[in-house]
C-alpha cells in the first residue's frame, strides 16, 4: 500500500453520510422551469448567444465562454428561452446574477452530437478544446474551468495526476455513489485525462469511510496502472492542497498552482463529465447532487439537470419545508445558506442540505476568546486563528497578512472547535474582502496619480519644446547674422525696415512689394532656408550643441539634487545628442554638396527675386528658377543618383562585395533625401497655389 502523509490539524465532525446512500442514483426529472446562471464557474461569466423566444435543443450552447478562464453554458433540455434576467444564484451572499430562463417543452430533444470513437488518436490540445466547449468546470465545489487546469504550460512536467474522491464534507455522498455505481466511467475519464497530460503516475485519493466506492474503483481500475489510494478520514483532507500533501508529501507553495510542483488535481465527478464529453460528445448539462438533512423524508442522490430549482430537487426527496431551519448549498462545513429554494442547481452544486434546528443548532452567541489554541490545533494550514481573530477585530491588516490570512482556505475547522463559538471564518472572510477592496482602491488611486503625472509631463514637454523652438530661432538668427556680410548690412536692414513699413502702409495690397520685402528679409538672414541651406545647417549644429550643453547642465543639477526627474533629463540629453549627430551629418553632407548645389541664381538671389516680382507685376509668367522648379530639378537629379547607386550596388554585388554595405548606406541616405525633397516640393507647390490665389 502506498505511503500517505499526514496534514496538520483537521477535525472529525459527525459524518452523516449513511442517510443518503441507501438508494441508488435517481433522475430528478424535468422541472417546469430551468434557470442557467451565466456564471457557474470561477472566471469571467459566459455571454448569452440566444434571445428571448428562441427555441433551443438539449445540449445546445446558450452562452459562450468569455476569455480564457471561462466556460460556456448549455441548455439541459429542449424548450423555449423565456427570459434573460437577474435571478438569485447560489452564492454565499445570496446575490442575484444574470440568468437564462428556459421553459422545457417536455420532449427532451437532443441537439446533434457525437463523440470521438477513439480519443487515443486525438491530439491532447483537441481534447482540451472539447472539454472546454463542453462547459466543464470543477464539480467538487470551486468550479474552476477544467480545460484551464489541463492547459499545461509547455516545458512543465506533470509527475502526478490526482483524482479527488475524498469528499471529506459531512453529509455529501455524490462522489461516493458515483464511485459505487459508475466506477467504469470514472476510470475511462481518468484515462482520457492521462492521455492529455501524460503524468508519470495517476492516483485516485479516497477517504477510508467509503469502502464500497473504493472496492468498485479498484475493480474498475485493475490493470490500468491507476492507483486508488485510501487514507484515514479527516476533514478537510479533500481540499486540493491538503490532498496533494496527503498523497505526495509536497506542499503547493503559497500563491502558486499545483502544476508548479508537477501535480494536476481534478475532482472525481469532473472525470465522468469529461468521459461523457469526449466519448459521447455530451456537454455538461447534468450532475449528481446529494439531497439530505432531517427536513427531507428520503435523503438520496439525484441526477439533476443543471438549472433545476432547489425547490424541485427538494420536493423529489420529500421536503418538509416547516421543519427546515436553513437551506444549505454544499456541506455543513463550507456550504452557503440560501435565502429561499428558488435557486438553481449549477455545475458546482454537490449537495442540498435541509437540516432541522435540532440537527444543526443556530450558533450560540460568541463568548470571549480565551486563546485556548484549539483553533490552531485544528487549522490544516498551520495558521494561528486566535491571533488572526484579534488582528481582524482591530483591523490590523498588516499583521493579518504577516499571519498569512490569504493562505486560509476557509474550511471552518477553527470555528467548528472554538469553545467560545466565535465565528472565526466570518472574520477572516470579512478581512479578506476589506483588504482586497483597499488594494483595489489603492490601485485606483495609483492609476489616477499616474495619469495626473503623465499629463503634467506631457504639458511640460510641450512647454519645453516651445521653449526650445523659440531658442532655436533666436540662436539661428544670431548665427546667421554673424555669418552674413557686414558692410552693406546696416543699409540692408534699414532698407528692409523701410520696405516693411511701406508694405504695411499699402496693407499688403502689392504682392510685388511683399515679395521684395521677403527677399530682402531673407538676405538679412531671417528666413535662411531660402537663402543658404549651409548656414541653416551650421546654425542648427551650433544651436543643438548649445541645447545639449543646457540639457547636460540640467541633468547634472538633477543628479546633484537627487530629483526624481533624472530619468527624463537623461532621455533628453540622449535625444539631443542624437539630434546633434544628425545635424552634423546633414551639415557634412551639405558641405560636400555645396559646390554642386550652387545655382546660377544664387549669385544674387535678391536681385533675381526682385526681377521675378517685377515680372510678375507686369503679368509675365515666371517659369524658370521658381522654387518649385528648382525643387523639381533637385528631385529628378536625386532620383537619377539613386538609380546610379542602385546600378553600382548591382555591380558591386558581383565585383566588390565588401563595398555593397557602404553603397547601400549611401543609397539609404539618398532615398531619405529624396523623400525630404518630395515633401518640400509638395509644400512649395501648396504655398505657390495659395499665393496665386
Amino acid at each position: 500500500m502506498r505511503k500517505t502523509f499526514a496534514i496538520h490539524g483537521g477535525v472529525h465532525p459527525p459524518e452523516n453520510k449513511h442517510q443518503s446512500v441507501r438508494t441508488p442514483i435517481r433522475a430528478a426529472g424535468i422541472p417546469d422551469e430551468l434557470v442557467f446562471p451565466l456564471s457557474q464557474h470561477i472566471g469571467a461569466p459566459a455571454e448569452q448567444v440566444v434571445q428571448v423566444g428562441d427555441a433551443v435543443l438539449k445540449g445546445q450552447k446558450i452562452a459562450e465562454a468569455q476569455g480564457f478562464v471561462s466556460v460556456p453554458v448549455h441548455a439541459s433540455t429542449s424548450g423555449t428561452i423565456m427570459a434573460i434576467e437577474a435571478r438569485t444564484v447560489p452564492h454565499a451572499s445570496g446575490m442575484s446574477g444574470r440568468c437564462i430562463v428556459l421553459k422545457p417543452d417536455g420532449q427532451d430533444r437532443w441537439i446533434d452530437h457525437s463523440g470521438l470513437a477513439d480519443y487515443t488518436q486525438a491530439e491532447p490540445a483537441d481534447l482540451v478544446k472539447r472539454i472546454r466547449d463542453a462547459g466543464i468546470a470543477g464539480m467538487g465545489g470551486a468550479g474552476f474551468p477544467s480545460a484551464v487546469k489541463l492547459g499545461i504550460k509547455p516545458g512543465t512536467v506533470i509527475e502526478t495526476l490526482i483524482i479527488n474522491g475524498t469528499e471529506c464534507e459531512p453529509y455529501i455522498t455524490a462522489d461516493d455513489i458515483l464511485m459505487r455505481e459508475r466506477a467504469d466511467q470514472v476510470i475511462e475519464g481518468v484515462k482520457i485525462l492521462r492521455h492529455i497530460i501524460k503524468p508519470k503516475e495517476v492516483l485516485i485519493g479516497v477517504e477510508d469511510n467509503k469502502p464500497e466506492g473504493i472496492a468498485a474503483l479498484q475493480k474498475a481500475a485493475a490493470g490500468s496502472g491507476i492507483d486508488v489510494v485510501v487514507f484515514p478520514t479527516k476533514y478537510p483532507s479533500g481540499g486540493e492542497k491538503q490532498l496533494i500533501q496527503i498523497l505526495t508529501g509536497k506542499e503547493v507553495p503559497s500563491g502558486k498552482l499545483p502544476a508548479d510542483i508537477g501535480v494536476v488535481c481534478q475532482n472525481i465527478g469532473t472525470t465522468t463529465a469529461i468521459y461523457r464529453a469526449i466519448v459521447h460528445g455530451e456537454p455538461l448539462i447534468q450532475r449528481i447532487t446529494t439531497v439530505t438533512g432531517d427536513a427531507v423524508k428520503e435523503p438520496q442522490n439525484l441526477e439533476v439537470l443543471l438549472g433545476t430549482p432547489l425547490r424541485h430537487v427538494l420536493s423529489v426527496a420529500g421536503y418538509e419545508a416547516p421543519k427546515a431551519d436553513r437551506l444549505i448549498v454544499g456541506g455543513p462545513m463550507m456550504g452557503f445558506a440560501m435565502p429561499h429554494a428558488d435557486i438553481p442547481v449549477v455545475k458546482t452544486t454537490n449537495c442540498v442540505l435541509a437540516p432541522t434546528a435540532r440537527e444543526l443548532p443556530p450558533p450560540p452567541p460568541a463568548q470571549a476568546c480565551i486563546r485556548c489554541g484549539m483553533c490552531a490545533e485544528a487549522c490544516p494550514v498551520s495558521l494561528l486563528p486566535q491571533q488572526m481573530y484579534w488582528f481582524a477585530m482591530s483591523k490590523n491588516h498588516d499583521a493579518l497578512q504577516e499571519h498569512h490570512l490569504f493562505d486560509c482556505i476557509e474550511c471552518g475547522a477553527c470555528s467548528y472547535v472554538c469553545p467560545s463559538s466565535i465565528p472565526l471564518v466570518q472574520y477572516y472572510r470579512a478581512s479578506k474582502a476589506d483588504i482586497r477592496q483597499q488594494e483595489q482602491e489603492k490601485r485606483k488611486a495609483d492609476y489616477s496619480k499616474q495619469r495626473y503625472e503623465a499629463r503634467q509631463a506631457r504639458l511640460q514637454k510641450l512647454e519645453d519644446e516651445k521653449e526650445a523652438k523659440r531658442k532655436a530661432r533666436q540662436e539661428a538668427a544670431a548665427a546667421a547674422k554673424a555669418s552674413s556680410d557686414t558692410p552693406s548690412d546696416a543699409q540692408a536692414i534699414i532698407q528692409a525696415a523701410v520696405e516693411r513699413t511701406q508694405a504695411k502702409k499699402q496693407v499688403s495690397a502689392d504682392p510685388a512689394a511683399a515679395a521684395i520685402e521677403r527677399a530682402q528679409a531673407a538676405r538679412e538672414g531671417r528666413s535662411i532656408a531660402d537663402a543658404d541651406p549651409l548656414a541653416t545647417a551650421r546654425a542648427t549644429v551650433a544651436n543643438t550643441e548649445k541645447r545639449l550643453q543646457t540639457a547636460r547642465e540640467k541633468l547634472a543639477q538633477a543628479e546633484a539634487e537627487g530629483s526624481d526627474k533624472i530619468d527624463a533629463f537623461r532621455t533628453g540629453v540622449e535625444k539631443t545628442e542624437a539630434k546633434l549627430q544628425e545635424a552634423r551629418e546633414a551639415l557634412a553632407k551639405l558641405e560636400a554638396e555645396a559646390p554642386a548645389a550652387t545655382t546660377p541664381a544664387a549669385d544674387d538671389p535678391v536681385q533675381a527675386i526682385i526681377e521675378r516680382a517685377k515680372a510678375k507685376r507686369a503679368g509675365q509668367a515666371v517659369e524658370e528658377e521658381d522654387p518649385v522648379a528648382k525643387l523639381e530639378r533637385l528631385v529628378s537629379s536625386t532620383e537619377s543618383r539613386i538609380q546610379a547607386t542602385r546600378d553600382k550596388i548591382t555591380m558591386a554585388e558581383t565585383d566588390a562585395p565588401d563595398k555593397v554595405d557602404a553603397l547601400k548606406t549611401g543609397l539609404e541616405k539618398l532615398q531619405e533625401k529624396l523623400a525630404q525633397l518630395n515633401s518640400e516640393l509638395a509644400n512649395a507647390r501648396a504655398s505657390q497655389n495659395s499665393e496665386a490665389q
Binding site: 462545513m333 489554541g373 471552518g412
Partner: protein
C-alpha cells in the same frame, strides 16, 4: 418559516464550550484540594468557599456596571477558576480579609479593568497572590504544619471557619503553623541536605504532606491533559526546566545545595503551577513552540528565585514575568504555514 442565514461552518463541535472547559479544570483540582485538606485541615476549603462567593459577586457587580450580560458571562465559570486557584495558593489559615483583598484585586483590577474574560494580560489569580505576598508577608508566609507534624490537632471545618474569620483568638493557630521545606532550604547555609531531612516537615522526597498534594495536582493535570484541555508543551517544559536547573545546582547535597530535583518538583506550588497556572491559555503564549519557550522560562525563573531570590517559592512571580513576555514570544514563534518555506515570513511577492 424564515430560513436562517449564517455563514459556514454550520456545524459546531457539541462538547466544546468554554464553560465546560472551566468546569473540567475546577473538577481536576479536587484531588489536590482533598490532599491539602487531609494534610493541613479544612482551612483551604473555607477559603475556597469564601473566595467563590466573593469572586462571583464581584464579577456580577462589575459586569452589571459594564453593561454586560451577567448570566452569560458568569456561566463561563472563569471567576470560579480564579477564586479556586487563588484560594488553593493561599495559606490554609489566612484571615478572611486576605482572601477578600486578593480576590478583589484579581477580579476587579487584573481581570475586569482589562476588559474581562480573555482580555487580561496577567493571570488574575497570580496578580492577587503577588499583591498579597508583597503587602502582607507575615500572613502570607504563615503555613500550616502538616498532619503528623503539627503540635496540635488539625482544625475541623467549623474551627477553621472561626480561625479564618477571626471569631476566635488566632493565637491558638500557633500550634498548627510553621515553616515549609522551601523556607528551610532558603534559610539554610550550614547544614548538609541529608541533615535537613531530619526535620519532620520533610517527607519521602519533598515536603511532608506537600509531596502528596503535588502528586494529587499532577494527577488532576494529567486528566486534563488526557482530555485535551491544554497541550503538553508548557507544563512539560516547565517541569523539565525546573528539573534541569535543580539537578545542575544540586551540588551533591552540600550546605550550598538548592535541593534535589524531586524536592523541587514535589514541593511548594510546582504541580499546581505546572498544570493549572502555566496552562492558563489567556495569558500564555499561543503557538506550541511558544508555549514550550514560555513554560521553560518559567521553570528556570522558579528555580532562580527559589534558590537565589528573596522568596521561598516563586511560581507566581515567574508566571507574571513570563506573562509580560508572552506577546514577544508569540511574535517570534509563529508556526510555518502550509506552502511557506519559513515560519513568520511575509506573503511571497509582497
Amino acid at each position: 418559516m424564515a430560513l436562517l442565514r449564517v455563514t459556514s461552518p454550520h456545524a459546531h463541535h457539541p462538547a466544546n464550550k468554554t464553560g465546560w472547559v472551566m468546569l473540567q479544570v475546577l473538577a481536576a483540582t479536587i484531588p489536590g484540594i482533598a490532599a491539602i485538606t487531609w494534610f493541613f485541615g479544612w482551612g483551604t476549603i473555607v477559603n475556597i468557599l469564601w473566595a467563590s462567593v466573593l469572586a462571583v459577586t464581584l464579577e456580577a457587580l462589575f459586569l452589571k456596571l459594564r453593561n454586560r450580560p451577567v448570566g452569560f458571562y458568569l456561566t463561563d465559570y472563569s471567576a470560579l477558576v480564579t477564586a479556586w486557584l487563588l484560594a488553593i495558593a493561599l495559606p490554609p489559615y489566612a484571615p478572611w480579609w486576605i482572601v477578600a483583598v486578593g480576590i478583589a484585586f484579581a477580579i476587579l483590577i487584573a481581570k475586569q479593568l482589562y476588559g474581562g474574560m480573555g482580555y487580561n494580560p496577567f493571570n488574575p489569580a497570580m496578580v492577587g497572590y503577588v499583591v498579597l505576598l508583597i503587602s502582607f508577608p507575615l500572613q502570607m508566609t504563615t503555613w500550616a504544619e502538616p498532619r503528623g507534624v503539627a503540635g496540635a490537632e488539625l482544625p475541623g471545618f467549623w474551627q477553621a471557619f472561626q480561625f479564618n474569620f477571626g471569631l476566635v483568638d488566632r493565637a491558638a493557630l500557633d500550634g498548627v503553623t510553621g515553616a515549609t521545606v522551601l523556607d528551610v532550604f532558603k534559610q539554610n547555609n550550614t547544614a548538609l541536605v541529608k541533615d535537613l531531612w531530619a526535620n519532620p516537615i520533610f517527607g519521602h522526597f519533598g515536603g511532608h504532606g506537600q509531596e502528596w498534594v503535588n502528586a494529587a495536582f499532577l494527577l488532576g493535570g494529567l486528566v486534563l491533559l488526557a482530555r485535551r484541555i491544554f497541550t503538553w508543551h508548557a507544563p512539560v517544559c516547565f517541569l523539565l526546566a525546573l528539573t534541569v536547573m535543580s539537578a545542575a545546582f544540586y551540588d551533591g547535597g552540600s550546605a550550598a545545595s538548592g535541593g534535589s530535583p524531586l524536592l523541587h518538583l514535589f514541593s511548594g506550588a510546582t504541580m499546581l503551577g505546572a498544570f493549572f497556572i502555566v496552562t492558563d491559555p489567556v495569558t500564555s503564549a499561543t503557538s506550541n513552540r511558544g508555549r514550550m519557550i514560555y513554560g521553560a522560562c518559567i521553570g528556570v525563573l522558579v528555580y532562580v528565585i527559589r534558590h537565589w531570590g528573596n522568596y521561598p517559592d516563586a511560581v507566581a512571580f515567574s508566571v507574571l514575568l513570563m506573562n509580560f513576555a508572552a506577546p514577544l514570544i508569540d511574535h517570534y514563534t509563529q508556526p510555518r504555514t502550509y506552502g511557506h518555506e519559513k515560519a513568520g515570513t511575509r506573503k511571497a511577492g509582497k
